[in-house]
Symmetry: C2
Subunit: 197 residues, 2 copies
């Protein structure tokens, strides 16, 4: 019986380096293999420890994923950005964030095959993306819809480029992607919504 779930202010443990190694290996594995093929044994092998350690520190495979998928999109504040450049700014940010490490890839790969992953994506969407959209779009009540549209475009490109590796999407340069996608995202963010009859 251990007690330590809530406190974020624990003193450093001797095993912190191991815990971190496990987490890093887990992120890589989830990113490359998805939930099912990312085995605890493989994670342990990458982290150079025994599989049972993973269980001890993270309780279960689900727990490991929960820990490995704690994500900060690092979204830029759009306060100091001209309203009409928000789209380009966001597209470029997502491209960099995606290539920075495997976390987002892991999130998508798991989200597609495992409910816990889809939940996690929704959480990130709700807590990090929607508030930012609400700050720039005309009517805050439309923020969820507009954010969903934004995600559909950005996530779709990421899916093609980083997960499916569709050749034409892989071969596009950053500037080219931004040039094409930015107007789309900009419209989803700030344009008047279309009439639907």
């Amino acid at each position: 019986m251990e007690r330590e779930p809530a406190g974020a202010d624990e003193k450093p443990r001797r095993s912190d380096v191991t815990r971190a190694a496990i987490l890093e290996a887990a992120r890589d594995r989830f990113a490359v293999d998805g939930y099912d093929r990312a085995t605890i044994r493989a994670v342990a092998r990458d982290a150079r420890i025994d599989p049972s350690m993973v269980m001890r520190y993270y309780g279960s495979k689900e727990g490991l994923f929960a820990a490995a998928s704690a994500i900060d999109l690092g979204l830029p504040s759009l306060a100091d950005t001209p309203r009409e450049e928000a789209g380009a700014r966001l597209v470029r940010h997502f491209l960099h964030r995606w290539e920075e490490d495997g976390t987002l890839n892991a999130l998508v790969r798991v989200g597609v095959t495992h409910p816990a992953g889809a939940d996690r994506i929704y959480t990130v969407f709700r807590e990090q993306l929607t508030p930012l959209v609400a700050a720039v779009c005309p009517d805050p009540a439309e923020a969820p819809t507009r954010a969903a549209l934004l995600v559909s475009q950005v996530l779709g490109m990421a899916l093609n480029r980083y997960v499916l590796k569709l050749p034409p999407a892989v071969e596009m340069g950053h500037d080219e992607i931004v040039a094409w996608l930015a107007p789309t995202v900009q419209r989803y963010l700030t344009a008047a919504g279309p009439r639907v009859g």
Copy 2:
């Protein structure tokens, strides 16, 4: 030693109903569970036959997937469609096609976690989508890029709505989605490409 791989003109076999039942069950399972969780045993159970039959008829799990993911997007000819309505037409078509059966869902779910799935998506992209795009876009040489952009938007929305089931995307109506996405797709298809320096 059986010989029958190439011929598309075989006489009907007594086991055709069973083969079809297996294929249908496989599509459902792949759509719901992805590649790894869709077990041959589960497919066989759904089709009410023995797992070994699946092996006999489709050789292996990979073979089963190959057979189950033979997909016809049923894309409409855009010849009789006004050029400026192509975007709306396509978006609406994809929405219907997606909800028609589980095939596209299966394709995406597997594509994300299994190389064979990603390959299949690329094949469909190349053989069915790119030619259609080439027929309506200004410069046929740009067709792969423009098709990739189209896919990024359409697939992204499908991912949110049908796979991840992100609530705001699920709650949108068909008309609303078309109204938002059609201009985007239209631009990817026919607008002059942006300058990239």
